[in-house]
Amino acid sequence: MLELKHIYKWVNTGNNRTFLLKDINLTINEGEFVSIMGPSGSGKSTLLNIIGMLDGFNEGEYNFMHESVHQLKEKQRSSLYKQYIGFVFQAYHLIDELTVYENIETPLLYQDIKSSERKAMVADILDRFQIVGKKDLFPTQLSGGQQQLVGIARALIARPKLLLADEPTGNLNSKQGEEIMELFSTLNKEGMTIIQVTHSEKNADYGSRVIHLLDGMIEKK
């Protein structure tokens, strides 16, 4: 599905060049559930952002679904991830001014899906996540677990092929976290490719593969 070749990313501070990522080579196939682990500052989130095309890199090649991402323009990249990638964040990142329903609907607005179809799709996913009763509430009226559930629903609404999750359970208690991970593993079984960043070995166990990062380099496979 995606392939990273010799990816480097660095920042210059004064005369020093600090490497965030160093020679990352990584292939992920469809249907995999990959966990990226490593201590703080090891470059996990940076890697995830690069995979999600939210961030650029300084050197290397990135092929996603047979497209060379490093050669694409901003606009094409945007339409690529719009189509294939869903994001889940540690801090949920729901839009506070929108209701649960509207939050979930938002990605569809950017894909020019007709109103009636949007309604059906949102109703579907609300149903599936059993949050129909919460659809008119605002994010601040929900618990953390419920917010993350909405975040995942929103990430899935456009039926992406790849789900990127940056410490999805980081702000949740263990019971809520377990529920989310159960959900991920169900999704994975249904065919969804998932890449998650996590600190917890327990969470990583839900996945099919674990990648350890240290100081911007992949430690072992």
Binding site: N49, I95, Y110, R154
Partner: protein
């Protein structure tokens, strides 16, 4: 999609109520001002735009060049008309009409003994049939071709017909008679509908011009055969043939005058002709104050431009506020933008979202403006032409204008903030790094420039207000050379047509003399300062020295100078006389005549060649006009035959209420002698204040504009301070923990803002000084631009800014650091 945008926009407005309110208030003020000013300007520029061939219609006007002054007159010598018809080429049509001024109209009523009388009717002209070729009417009865052919016919507009004959059908009115000024009996030959468009051709009664041709009295009144005299009532319109230049007609008019004048035995052919004619375009009539517009209120283009500038400024300030506050607040929206971007929104879609938000706010502001419009119309009532009112709002072009305004303001105010907002990189935003980085400082730069701009405008207007007010104050309080308090004057009726001597005014004068509450009384000509003047060219010969001067002539009686407290510098008072026998001149004239010492002028004579009258006294200089004009040569004479104004000095120590009683007593006496006339009076100081109506209007307009500008600017400042204190909460907390006092913190935050106000002040001083000096050049006698005006402006603005800053910064500095640091 837009539903989603609007939903989030609404919720954002609710969440940031204060910011939204500030933004909306700023925009609403700007938009209201723009709306009202649009109504005014649109109305003024719309005068007489509906006439067919309006580009080819000109009015022929006259200019009279005296040695030391040029006079303009909107009329032409009457013979010009017939001569032009027969001898000029290039003209398609000519019409000539006489504006009749006020007339007494008597309408006979069937079955009643006495006619219904309208004492002072206006908008009456003597016109010929061709008038209706120029100004097209809808005819309800009669025909434009024949209605005014015969003498003693009249065409009425439906509104006048209604006030004379009630609801009678137009067709029925043909043949009815009306009596004008007790002597001209005419028959109705036509009724036309009143003009619908905005026009200065507001005439409602058209007497046939042929009436004058058969009436020697009327011909005399309007100098029917004289090439040398011009009455502004004698109006001539021409329709040029297509392609003919006005200049070529002006040239042939000059040649025509030259030919005709020589044939006129009265003219001194060896003298240069001082009269010249020119063509005034139809569109110029409403605006050119050199030539009157048939006595109608004229528009004043500089004022219109001033209004446009004010409207533009207010709108600009509102937009600047919006840009400032929205970009300042952008970090609040950063997270949302980041999320939307990760969900696949393109920059264009985000732009659309923020612009639609701006649109919504602008739209709300516009609705508010429409609601505010009546109030603003009230504030600006002195500038608003009578035709503009709240009801004129409901017109397609007004709505179109508002729509355009909404779109323009939306783009102007929204484009830059939208651009800034959508540039956020999602990664940095989602990592909560939006505050830091160099892009922040760059935006702050723009905000600073905008804030300085706001304060430059606000302070400029403040200085302008102070200077204009100071000049008005100076004008009203300068020693004008006479006293003006508690002096009332009234005109006594006169009738130029009557051959009979009318001495009733002397009776009134004698009766008023004994009235209590009146200290002094005079029966004379105009007040020392008056709008109506009469001037003549006089020759003064002293040995072989000959001085030819334009001299203003005024009439006084023996009590006049004492009443007005005017100082006689030399010689004696005038002796009572029926016609001019001697003069008192003013100091300026004495100087012009070459006398250093006014007393030396006494005893010399001047006048028309040959018949001169002696100078018996010299009066100290005084202002006969506004301070715009320098004092010019002037002479007083006693000529009771020309004196129709009674001046009364009331008891200064009495209250206005007691004055009112005295005036009521005067009115009773007046009514006893002139039962048919209306009693009208003016306070002299009020008359003088009216000279400065324009300046007072400007001052009032500026005061409002300034107040609004300062208000908008302060709103902007408040918004920025709120933003900065919010953004620096953490810094403030840390500093407090490290031991900073509240005062130090307030100083720290306020310093930057006060610096902006100061920078604006430094920029505005030379600008305002230059502009206001220029404005003052218009006055022959003017106040100075004192340093304190700038000091007051600068300090005042600083003080206001400090108050706004203090209100917010103190609160921010008082917050317990534990709290502010924990929330981070």
């Amino acid at each position: 999609m837009f539903k989603n945008y609007f939903a989030i926009a609404f919720r954002n407005f609710r969440k940031h109520r204060l910011f939204s309110l500030i933004n909306m208030a700023g925009l609403a003020i700007g938009i209201s001002a723009a709306l009202v000013i649009y109504l005014i300007v649109q109305h003024e520029l719309n005068y007489d735009r509906f006439h067919a061939n309006r580009d080819r219609i000109y009015r022929v006007v006259s200019t009279i060049s005296f040695p030391d002054m040029v006079m303009n007159n909107s009329g032409v010598p009457v013979p010009t008309v017939d001569a032009s018809r027969t001898e000029l080429t290039g003209i398609e049509d000519i019409t000539h009409f006489i504006t009749a001024g006020t007339m007494k109209v008597a309408v006979p009523v069937a079955g009643a003994d006495n006619p219904v009388v309208f004492k002072k009717q206006e908008d009456i002209i003597f016109a010929d049939n061709r008038y209706f070729n120029f100004i097209k009417y809808k005819w309800l009865a009669g025909s434009p071709v024949t209605a005014l052919q015969a003498p003693s016919s009249i065409v009425l507009t439906s509104s006048r017909a209604h006030s004379y004959f009630g609801d009678t059908d137009a067709g029925q009115l043909i043949g009815r008679t009306i009596l004008y000024d007790d002597s001209i009996r005419v028959t109705v030959t036509g009724v036309v509908q009143d003009l619908a468009g905005v026009t200065d051709f507001n005439f409602r009664e058209f007497l046939s011009r042929a009436t004058i041709e058969t009436n020697p009295g009327l011909q005399r009144r309007w100098s029917w055969d004289s090439w040398g005299s011009i009455n502004s009532a004698s109006q001539m319109l021409v329709l040029l043939k297509s392609g003919v230049k006005a200049a070529s007609i002006e040239k042939s008019l000059a040649q025509l005058r030259e030919r005709k004048r020589e044939k006129n035995p009265q003219a001194e052919s060896n003298e240069k002709d001082i009269i010249s004619n020119s063509l005034q375009p139809l569109a110029d009539i409403h605006f050119n104050s050199k030539f009157d517009a048939f006595g109608q209120r004229q528009g004043h283009k500089p004022t219109l431009y001033g209004l446009l500038a004010v409207g533009g400024f207010l709108l600009l300030l509102g937009c600047i506020n919006f840009v400032n506050l929205t970009t300042a607040q952008s970090s609040n929206r950063a997270k949302e933008i980041g999320i939307r971007k990760t969900m696949g929104s393109t920059v264009r879609q985000l732009m659309a979202q923020f612009l639609s938000e701006t649109f919504l706010l602008t739209f709300a502001a516009t609705l508010l403006s429409v609601a505010l419009a009546p109030w603003l119309l009230h504030i600006f009532r002195d500038f608003i032409p009578p035709g503009v009112s709240f009801t004129t709002l409901n017109q397609p072009h007004v709505w179109l204008f508002l729509l355009l305004l909404v779109v323009v303001v939306t783009l102007f105010a929204g484009l830059y903030p939208a651009w800034v907002l959508t540039r956020f990189k999602p990664v940095t935003v989602l990592k909560n790094q939006a505050y830091s980085g160099t892009s922040q400082t760059r935006k702050a730069w723009l905000r600073k420039v905008l804030t300085v701009t706001q304060f430059v405008i606000a302070q400029f207007l403040l200085i302008a207000v102070l200077v204009v007010s100071k000049q008005v104050h100076y004008s009203l309080n300068k020693d004008l050379g006479y006293s003006k308090e508690a002096i009332v004057s009234t005109y006594v009726p006169w009738n130029f047509f009557s051959e009979k001597r009318d001495d009733r005014r002397f009776t009134l004068y004698n009766e008023l003399k004994t009235l209590p509450g009146i200290e002094r009384i005079s029966l004379a000509g105009n007040s020392p300062a008056s709008n109506s003047t009469s001037s003549s060219t006089f020759t003064f010969k002293n040995g072989d020295k000959k001085v030819e001067t334009m001299v203003e002539l005024k009439k006084a009686d023996t009590g006049y100078f004492a009443l007005y407290n005017m100082k006689l510098l030399a010689g004696r008072n005038l002796l009572q006389s029926d016609t001019t026998k001697e003069y008192i001149i003013n100091e300026t004239y004495a100087h012009v005549l070459g006398f250093k010492n006014p007393a030396d002028a006494v005893g010399h004579s001047f006048g028309d060649d040959g018949k001169g009258f002696p100078i018996v006294g010299v009066v100290g200089d005084f202002h006969t006009k506004s301070l715009h004009e320098p004092i010019k040569p002037l002479a007083y004479s006693s000529a009771m035959n020309d004196c129709y104004q009674i001046h009364l000095a009331l008891d200064k120590h009495q209250s206005p209420a007691e004055w009112k009683k005295t005036i009521a007593a005067v009115e009773a006496k007046f009514k006893a002698i002139f039962p048919d006339e209306d009693f009208q009076y003016d306070f002299f100081d009020q008359q003088i204040a009216n000279f400065y109506k324009t300046e007072q209007d400007i001052a009032r307009l500026l005061k409002w504009a300034t107040a609004l500008c300062v208000f908008i600017s302060c709103l902007g400042l408040l918004g920025l301070v709120i933003y900065v204190t919010n953004a620096r909460t953490k810094e403030i907390g840390v500093r407090k923990v490290l031991g900073a006092s509240v005062l130090q913190l307030v100083r720290l935050i306020s310093r930057d803002f006060l610096a902006l106000v100061l920078v604006a002040f430094i920029l505005v001083v030379p600008l305002a000084w230059w502009a206001m000096s220029n404005w003052l050049q218009d006055f022959a006698y003017r106040t100075s631009i004192s340093w304190w005006i700038f000091a007051v402006t600068g300090l005042g603005m600083l003080l206001i800014a400090i108050c706004i800053l203090a209100a917010r910064t103190i609160k921010a500095a008082m917050v317990n650091p534990v709290k502010s640091l924990r929330t981070e």
